[in-house]
Amino acid sequence: MKILLFGNPNVGKSAVFSRLTGTQVIISNYGGTTVEFTKGSTKLRNGEIREVIDAPGTYSLDVSCKAEEVAVDMLEGLLDKEDIIVNVVDSTHLERNLYLTLQLLEKGIPMVVALNLWDETKHRGISIDVAQLQNILGVPVVPTNALTGEGIDVLLDRISDLENGEISASPTAKYREKKLSADERWSEIGKIIAKVQTICQRRHTLRERLEDASIRPVGGLIMAAITMYLSFNLVVFLGEGLIDFILDPFFEGVVRPLVTQIGLALGSQGLLHDLLIGYLFHGEIDFEMSMGLLTTGIYIPIAMVLPYIFAFYIVLSTLEDVGYLPRLAVLVDNLMHALGMHGYAIIPMVLGFGCTVPAAMATRVLESRREKFICATMLSIGVPCMSQTAMVVGLIGRFGWQYIAIIYGVLFVMWLLVGFVLNTILPGSSMPLVAEIPPYRFPHPAILGKKVWMRVRAFLAEAVPYVLLGVLFINLLFVSGFIDLLGEIFAPFLSGLFGLPPEAIAALLMGFLRKDVAVGMLSPLGLSVQQLVVAAIVLTAYFPCAATFIVLLRELGPIDMLKSTLIMLIVSFGAGGLTNLVLAKMVPAQYIIIGILVLIALVYSSARAVRAMKSRREDLTL
């Protein structure tokens, strides 16, 4: 016997799941956070264990988009007759939620309705007659507040009751095993609502005024600008603060004496010393450049990247829980359509500034293969993850913020160009945006803290092994002389195209595995700031890191991934080469800008000509 959680998007299914099972899952205040099924288990009153499954949200059982198809397929495929559905319902939007409830009742499967977000009904002046609703539907109805855990015990009790046959497991005969039409369902819902729900009008609260402002054109743009500005500054402030006041003192005061001792014990030379401690600069360990497993291998992920990861996820998680991201999606819907996607595609992009792996998974909120392909390609090319950003800020920030601005400006132009060109040349068009805008909610500190911790832990679990593996691998390649060989082979390419020395090949090789270490490896090469800028751009865009590649391969399939990778290589080499030409003052920047505009015009007009030809051919055949 299983327990399946079913309900509309953003009603708190994952919060109920996490309460029932004790499993930590990411929950946010917008639809589409859960894109996969999550399984866990819960203990019933009698001590028996039941499997619990959390499904992506769906508005109805009539499939109208990809995410819903997945949820509905699961219902059909997984459900046995003795299973129990917990229909999680947003009590503040009972009317809309009841549509799915009625459809589920029609299936005749034993069910408990959880009236979630119950505490919010009070603030909104909504009162629901639970006993009456239970009478009408014929299944147990339990008010819950999954964020605080209220009502979850009662929910579990009702599940046990259903299993033991202590209460009727079957919906009112009126709905059971019937197939109502959509109109019949809505009229039925109208009658139910009239009987169980009363709403009293209240004055507009400050929160509602802010909600309204954030979706108005001008107010929305101003709020978006303020939000982005504050977010960026907060991340930098927190990240730098953690590094300057906690991590650097810790590494200098505790780690340095320790690894120095280990180095001395190893005899300050030899293969093992070079692997563990790395190269000494003036007899001292340099955490950024020594490239030993115990020095740079630990320093990069813990002292340089982790503080920024932590800071970024505090800010991102707050924005998520407040419910800001769908509002951003509405504001940028226009722009995103020009790039072949609808506004919701901004959510994977924003996630991508943290880590591309969850961002690649979040591309599932997009309905079509075309949109997913464009989104994944743009994400890989133009959105640097926080591991990389932290390193770029750490290494290049000291030369001045204008260089960071050049890197991000070039990446942004690449991002726009790739989206625009793909949207113009790929057949098909973007899907329309239909998205629920959640109310602003005050983030729950405990839930927020848990989410930040989960994400930081995921970073540690994923990044540290890759970083250590990468450092080991590179050291072995150096020792074996393979890097020198590659450097010689690629020297004309590196210096001709990017103005980089042959040794930069090691960083580019590392970039396949981890971006942070790859950027870090540029530091001992003694590059000029112009060279660093070019290298950082190429490193971001030419290939996603290994972990992302694996996820994208699964999401896009091998053929599309191959196409996407080719685009990444061409675009990044092109952009790196052009940036080098401009920075080395070989070609004035305005020529490049004119060139890009000509390219856009060419692509656009030839795509239009092709479309016109096609439609003419279709007219002829008709």
Binding site: S64, I199, I215, A329, V330, D333, P432, A435, I437
Partner: protein, 81 residues
């Protein structure tokens, strides 16, 4: 009583309450809106519209929903007096 004219949702002023008459589009389009409660006979309030062909935001049964411009252009409504 004079019958109010049927107009597309994009032509409605922000803040105005309207009744949905029908959705002119494929069955996929209509069913996506239907699942969110935007269906013939429902009263909705247009909250705002983002300029330059951006989405239209409507309130249906207390929920705010953003609808792409193209879809809003094909959602026909009449004003409620």
């Amino acid at each position: 009583m004079k019958k109010s004219p049927v107009i597309p949702l994009i032509k409605v002023e922000a803040g105005e309450a309207v009744r949905v008459i029908g959705v002119h589009g494929g069955p996929g389009l209509a069913s996506r809106l239907e699942a969110l409660g935007i269906r013939p006979g429902t009263n909705i309030v247009k909250k705002s519209a983002i300029f330059m062909g951006g989405p239209v935001i409507v309130e249906v049964h207390g929920t705010q929903i953003a609808i792409g411009h193209g879809m809003a252009a094909r959602t026909m409504v009449e004003t409620i007096n």
